[in-house]
Amino acid sequence: MSTTATDKTITTDIALRVENELPNLPQAAAIRKQALEALRTLGLPASKNEEYRYTPITRVLERNFNFTTPATPGTADATAFAIPGLEANVLVFVNGVYSAEQSRIVSPESELAIMPLAEAFTRKSAIVTEHFAKHVDYNTDAFAAWNTAAWKDGVFIEVPANKVVELPVVIYHIHDTQTAQAVSTNRNLFVVGRSGAVTVIEKLDTAGTGNGFSNHVTEAVVAENASLNLYMIQDDHGNRYHAGNTHIYQSNSSRVNTYTYTLEGKFVRNNLHLSLDGEGIESHMYGLYLLQNDTLADNHTVADHRKPNSFSNEIYKGVLDGKAKGVFNGKIYVRPQAQKTNAFQANRNILLTDNATINTKPQLEIWADDVKCSHGCTTGQLDEEALFYLQTRGIPKDTARAMMLYAFAGELLDAVKHPVIREFLDGRVSDRLHKNF
């Protein structure tokens, strides 16, 4: 991953702001300093940067944000964004700041240790030191560097060995942009112990019509035979600009399902990196993006098979309306020793207008010789013949169209096993596709 730096002042502005606001946390100070250096060296990605070729994030941030002013705290109420009927541990962050009064932990401590990441540096120092900033690489990605230097708040989760956390953890990241721009740099670390299991949902929302930029990093470590379901629901009605780095490190026989569903937003970049560093691993990456107007969503994913006999499967689907832009880049690495790997990838898109675009690129790098890998990309319009077929059965064209789009997205709703989350997503997807049958 080579980064071509900008010589623009935006990097200088950001680095200066970060430096002036460095939180006082001695245990993290050394890494912050290194990361800040890395940010200055890397610079925000220039337009020629291959990893950001179709996603002019630096230009967009320059135009829409002022990084010389301090961040403004928000007061938004999370209730409006809550997933209805979901019994869960709830953590609310408004403009990146933890809101204790809106949060509640209901799972017993024996099942789940959950605390602000800064606090975990003291209370869980061994495990934090072992994993913090060891997975997301701040030396190659400017946004990871920025976050590593600047993070103030975030969630630490530890699931002890053999504990299955019954209730999911929901993290609401709300931008309150009613009076000013919002900028948040949240940092999470999730550690799932041997044979443990947990479901974590991160949900992004915006209160207000102003701009908000989030630069979030999540590192997750999934020990042997453990499982993690990680949801990222991006459902901003406002102007959410987002750069996310999620890196999941998996050991033998672990199971990970990720669900990255972008239902609305403005400019979203999701980096999702799975390191399959063990045998007998099963990983599923599900992605759905329903874009309209001039929204851009860019999903860059990596499945890095480091050991033999593991399985990864990725399916991302998009429906793009208006002038929306989609970007998909799926890397599969199969290292020399990772024989008997099964790795599959698919990216399917429907463009509803002539002005909607998708850039999709599978990138398979396979060094082992006894593997099964496949990838497939399709991009098309709604099948006119199928629409006509439905119409000849008395179904109006709008309804036929909605039925077909809903059916297209259906696979990714079926993949959601949690009934309440599924129902919520089903409702949102139906609304977005104007299902009225």
């Binding site: 119409q391 000849t392 008395g394």
Partner: protein, 251 residues
């Protein structure tokens, strides 16, 4: 019921229908035969409202209404049903859900309340028997991975569910083995009554042994060049189309 007067249609720059005249009355079965490329499937598509075809002249009156300006769904709601030559596979949409939507759209158009789940399933079970179609097939995505025979049976099942006044069967027999042909024909025959009509578009006389037509029309170069009774189909089967072509050439 259906009156077609001087119907002309083209796709792109190509004239395909060059003045079709046809009168179909309730209770009748009309067979439309003809060599490949004569315009048979185009006629079926134009009647159902397929947008690729541009109607350049003529009139189509169905039960007193000019249907040429109607959307495909409104034609369907007025009672026209097209059984496709190549039924479309639609992944992710189960036949049952699709049919429920279709049936209730039709009912809404007629001012009837939507069927509840129990009534719908009852209706479905009754109609499934007609075409000997299995419920497991209907639970699956519409036509996805269905065999040719299963697709055609599904077409007739849909026809049974929607109870059209005019059914147009576009080469429903092509590609069917004799057992499937009997099942499909049997289904169509059971659905016939005094107040509905069927147009059978076919290339082969064989189907007409099972769905016996009152009239047989030969379509050639976009016109109906000969009409007769079921004996005409037998003659075509025995002699082919060359004599018709000769007749047209010398006329």
């Amino acid at each position: 019921m259906l009156t077609i007067k001087n119907l002309q249609a083209r796709i792109g720059e190509k004239e395909i229908l060059k003045g079709i005249n046809l009168e179909v009355k309730p209770g009748e079965v009309h067979a439309i035969m003809g060599p490949n490329g004569s315009g048979k499937s185009t006629l079926a598509s134009v009647l159902a409202g397929r947008e690729e075809y541009e109607v350049t002249g003529g009139e189509v009156d169905f039960l007193g209404k000019d249907i040429l300006e109607m959307s495909p769904e409104d034609r369907a709601r007025e009672g026209i049903f097209l059984a496709f030559q190549y039924p479309v596979e639609i992944p992710g949409v189960s036949t049952i859900n699709f049919m429920k939507t279709a049936v209730n759209q039709m009912r809404a158009y007629r001012g009837q309340p939507a069927l509840d789940a129990v009534s719908f399933l009852g209706l479905m079970k009754e109609k499934m028997k007609l075409v000997e179609i299995d419920q497991s097939l209907l639970n699956r995505a519409l036509n996805e991975g269905f065999s040719g025979g299963e697709k055609k049976r599904n077409e007739i099942f849909q026809m049974a569910m929607l109870e059209p006044k005019l059914a147009i069967l576009d080469e429903t027999d092509s590609g069917l083995d004799i057992d499937a042909l009997k099942i499909v024909s049997n289904g169509v025959n059971k659905l016939r009554n005094k107040s509905n009509a069927v147009i059978v578009v076919t290339h082969y006389q064989r189907l007409l042994d099972y769905i016996v037509p009152d009239y047989v029309h030969v379509l050639y170069k976009g016109r109906i060049v000969k009409s007769g009774t079921k004996e005409l189909a037998l003659e075509l089967e025995a002699k082919g189309y060359d004599w018709i072509k000769d007749e047209v050439a010398t006329a």
